[in-house]
């Protein structure tokens, strides 16, 4: 928060906006405003360079080809990498996670360079993981479990430079029992939902990093109720 307004960058929504992940920007913005901070969502499109002046950078899910183009764009314009080097918070979901890594393999079998902000490599798995995902979250206050919906083919391996965000309780996540990746203030996850709507503690962790101190509590009964519902074991549903 270099000035009084927190700038939340929504990166390449035309390529990485397929899975409702743009909601993460809205969640962060509202959680700041409701606590009396000024905050603004800044969409960063394909049309020009990526600014390095933003406080938070968000990358969502997108399809295979879009991911390759997004990675190329973000490598061509160094704004995101520069900002991350200066301590900006970066949060990537699904395709966003994969392209924050060092390398990802497309469906065509071609390896593409990622941004190298996470020590993660990704390859296509045998079949798509499409389901509710629950994971532990050792890094979050009170270790509240992470919940979301995953929809991806890629399986990710972490190197020594990244820690998992959590351990999978239900679902696939990275594919080896871990879920997501963290290096400094760069976080990647397979959780859609959007992730920060379903996991307010994670949202507030990102905001605390940005603010330099933990933020005061914010009670939203709607969110508590949704978490309660999603964290119980899946019920048998009527088929339709």
């Amino acid at each position: 928060m270099r000035d009084s307004v927190v700038h939340i960058g929504l990166l390449l929504p035309e390529l990485l906006g397929t899975y409702g992940d743009t909601g993460n920007a809205q969640v962060l913005c509202k959680r700041l405003r409701w606590r009396g901070f000024d905050a603004e969502v800044v969409p960063v499109g394909l049309g020009g360079p990526v600014p390095s002046s933003l406080d938070i950078y968000l990358l969502g899910g997108g399809e295979d080809r879009a991911q390759v183009l997004a990675a190329a764009h973000l490598r061509k314009y160094p704004g995101l990498r520069r900002a991350a080097a200066c301590g900006a918070v970066v949060f990537g979901v699904c395709a966003g996670l994969q392209l924050l890594g060092t390398r990802f393999r497309g469906l065509d079998g071609v390896d593409h360079d990622g941004l190298g902000l996470l020590d993660v490599t990704t390859e296509p798995g045998a079949r798509r993981s499409v389901a509710e995902l629950v994971a532990t979250s050792p890094g979050l206050p009170a270790e509240e479990p992470l919940t979301g919906f995953e929809n991806h083919l890629g399986l990710s391996k972490l190197g020594a430079g990244s820690e998992p965000l959590g351990q999978v309780v239900r679902g696939t996540g990275n594919g080896d029992g871990t879920e997501g990746a963290v290096t400094d203030r760069v976080v990647g996850t397979y959780l859609h939902g959007p992730a920060l709507a379903r996991n307010p503690a994670l949202a507030d962790l990102l905001l605390a990093w940005t603010a330099g101190h933990p933020l005061g509590p914010l009670s939203l009964p709607e969110v508590d109720r949704l978490r309660q519902e999603r964290l119980v074991a899946p019920r048998r549903r009527r088929t339709s």
Binding site: R65, A66, A131, N151, P194, A197, R198, E222, V223
Partner: protein, 397 residues
């Protein structure tokens, strides 16, 4: 065929389910070539797209009935089973109007070799089941390229539709306007930026908006011959006018004059309960279906401003299990209204409304949600299975 028809009748009469689906499934098991044979004996129109399939199919059915009997899956069973069941139910109808789930069009079209394929719009829907819409577009494009004998009637204002339909030898382009652009700011051919100006769009790679032969202007449809046809539908909203414009173009192709078709479209007042108003002792409830972001764009425009809104959300298989799409809907527009959240996944919607700063309360049972409102009108918007369940319960009441 008799066995299949009997099963359908048993299913209907025992109230077990929608006869269409079960009848079709049995017949496919009996005769894998049934769809091909039943389809090729007549003039078939396939209708596909993310939104408006059922409505447009009903419109086309009404229009073509001016010529002869029409077989149709008007109950919305748009998988191959349902398509086959519709053909089986009316073996002698010389025409068939079949709505087909986007992902099944390549397979169904290959079997029935349709005379006309109607392509309405393409946008994100049920990503967990259908997958990404841009992949669907590529599959449709390949399927259309393999149908040289089929006339494709398509909306030229929808970038993904135009990309797919351009593979046709001689597409009939209809301009219906568009309001949801969330899936086509990047070009489906090259992922470059699609520029939009004054209703035209284009990408540097050469994919540009085709010139329409038919144009929807307000409530008028302008034909390629320059004639103007008043729509004056009983169904509300621009989305239905768009569906009607496409239906007129497709019907014209098969020999129904636009004025004749338009008059027949005016007899439609609801589609499987959609837009129907149900009168209860204290409330009159207008039923609407909205199941994805593009559908919600249209629904938000149709909602009556001063009427309370009940929104029902489920996430069964037919709805899509992932509700992230709720965040692509501009629910902020509901601010200042009385809003009740309901359905099996009302909790997901409540969180979305909370962040949209839309005051609301929750009542898990949709009928109780209606009954809790003050007497008067109620706008009820539900997604697929929530809608089906509710129309059943409210009609039975």
């Amino acid at each position: 065929m008799a066995a299949g028809r009997l099963t359908a009748w048993l299913s209907r009469s025992s109230g077990l389910g929608r006869g269409g689906m079960i009848g079709g499934r049995v017949t496919l098991a009996l005769d894998p070539l049934a769809l091909r044979r039943l389809g090729r004996e007549r003039t078939v129109v396939l209708v596909t797209g993310t939104n408006g399939k059922t409505t447009t199919s009903l419109m086309l059915t009404r229009a073509l009935e001016a010529l002869a009997e029409v077989a149709a899956n008007s109950d919305g069973s748009n998988m191959p089973d349902g398509v086959l069941a519709a053909l089986t139910a009316r073996p002698d109808a010389p025409y068939a109007v079949l709505e087909v789930d986007e992902t099944y069009v390549p397979w169904v079209a290959e079997q029935v070799q349709p005379a006309v394929l109607v392509l309405l719009n393409l946008s994100r829907d049920q990503l967990d089941r259908v997958g990404e819409v841009r992949a669907t577009e590529r599959e449709l494009r390949a399927a259309i390229a393999a149908l040289p004998g089929t006339v494709v009637v398509a909306n030229c204002d929808d970038v993904l539709v135009a990309s797919a339909a351009s593979a046709a030898a001689k597409p009939v382009w209809v301009s219906t306007g568009r309001r949801w652009t969330g899936d086509s700011t990047a070009c489906p051919r090259c992922e470059g930026r699609v520029e939009t100006r004054d209703g035209h769009w284009g990408c540097a790679c050469g994919l540009v908006r085709p010139e329409p032969g038919w144009t929807l202007e307000g409530d008028l449809v302008r034909t390629p011959g320059g004639r103007q046809v008043d729509l004056d539908l009983r169904l509300p909203g621009d989305a239905n006018r768009a569906n009607a414009a496409v239906a007129l173009a497709a019907a014209h192709r098969l020999g129904v004059p636009p004025h004749t078709a338009a008059a027949r479209l005016r007899t439609i007042s609801d589609i499987g309960g959609r837009y129907r108003t149900i009168r209860r002792s204290r409330h009159s409830v207008r039923l609407m279906l909205a199941k994805n972001p593009a559908g919600w764009v249209e629904t938000l425009r149709v909602l009556d401003e001063d009427t309370p809104v009940v929104v029902a959300v489920n996430a069964n298989e037919a709805d899509g299990r992932d509700l992230s799409w709720l965040w692509d809907v501009h629910f902020e527009r509901l601010r200042g209204r009385q809003v009740v959240v309901t359905g099996e996944r009302g909790a997901d919607l409540a969180v979305r409304l909370c962040y949209a700063e839309v005051a609301h309360w929750t009542e898990p049972d949709p009928v109780a949600a209606i009954d809790a409102l003050p007497p008067g009108g109620v706008e009820l918007v539900a997604n697929y299975t929530a809608f089906r369940e509710l129309t059943g319960r409210l009609s039975g009441a």
